[in-house]
Symmetry: C2
Subunit: 204 residues, 2 copies
Amino acid sequence: MEFRYPNGKKFKSTAKSKQFSEKKLQREAISHGKRGMTLEEDLNETNQYYLDVGKAVIHKKPTPVQIVNVDYPKRSAAVIKEAYFKQASTTDYNGVYQGFYIDFEAKETRNKQSFPLQNFHDHQLSHMEQVEKHNGIAFVIIRFSLTEEIFLLPYQSLEKYWTRMKQGGRKSMTKEEIQQNGYQISLGIQPRIDYLTIVDHLCK
Amino acid sequence: MEFRYPNGKKFKSTAKSKQFSEKKLQREAISHGKRGMTLEEDLNETNQYYLDVGKAVIHKKPTPVQIVNVDYPKRSAAVIKEAYFKQASTTDYNGVYQGFYIDFEAKETRNKQSFPLQNFHDHQLSHMEQVEKHNGIAFVIIRFSLTEEIFLLPYQSLEKYWTRMKQGGRKSMTKEEIQQNGYQISLGIQPRIDYLTIVDHLCK
């Protein structure tokens, strides 16, 4: 629909309304820069590979959205006209591998020597705790974007540093702590991030 | 922002834009009437109960939405201005129970004597097949809304009727077939739909 001013000139909305791309959204919506993008793509490709070769069924959950207003135009699909990003109450990825329930969150940082714990949330930590209690396998995959180093850190280790922070300690894990408690994953071609080889160790 | 006609009269959009409630959306977006609502609420309550008493960690996945256009107003949260409902590529619910990976879809019908198979989709069936192959437990929970009868039907049985349809047979399962191959779940107070008691049988 077009609006015109009394002088006939077309009205142009001044509200910034950008064409949306998943990439852009990710970059802009996440408050810490470019974090979160490439890692997600790599993991999606990895999971697709695992699915294709029949190794595991692991998916990323859809982004949770709070829908406020929906249009139902005649003869066409419902259009969501107003919605907001919601904070997830669980982790982003889960699925099944050799009968094991797998559950993890993936995050990146542009820091060089430490990983900020503010990347995670209280309810994600409690979710992972619950998962472990029910004999699932919970962990985080973290990436230092600048050096492209990727680590799998089991929930138990994350929890240790989380508790330290809650007790007034530092708000991040040092890279050294991650190296000592986690498992480095080298970037591959197919799959890109072969985290299930690490999960094999955790299962034992 | 307000628009005014040259005569000063306020412009009112004629596009139907309704205040959104999850309930309404569910009722209107789903093509088969009121199906899908109460069952979802009951299952969410049931899963919350399981979580609270430490019995299992099972969640409904967020509704998948294709985001097309996002506004980034200064000083406030990003607003999704255009988005569409996407068909889910997996089932709606998954989680962990006693170390078992649990995966299911839940659907209702207002039919009395049969359950239409069009409630499910090819990719959901293949997803459940994959889950079973990896030693997860896959099933559907179906509800005859008019009589409030709820059944858990294991994937293997659903697959039988799905194949029959694909081979040119009937497009639904009869209630009798469901009674013979599934397990009826009686409605309770807490939890509302105690499907894990049935899952206990399936694990053995």
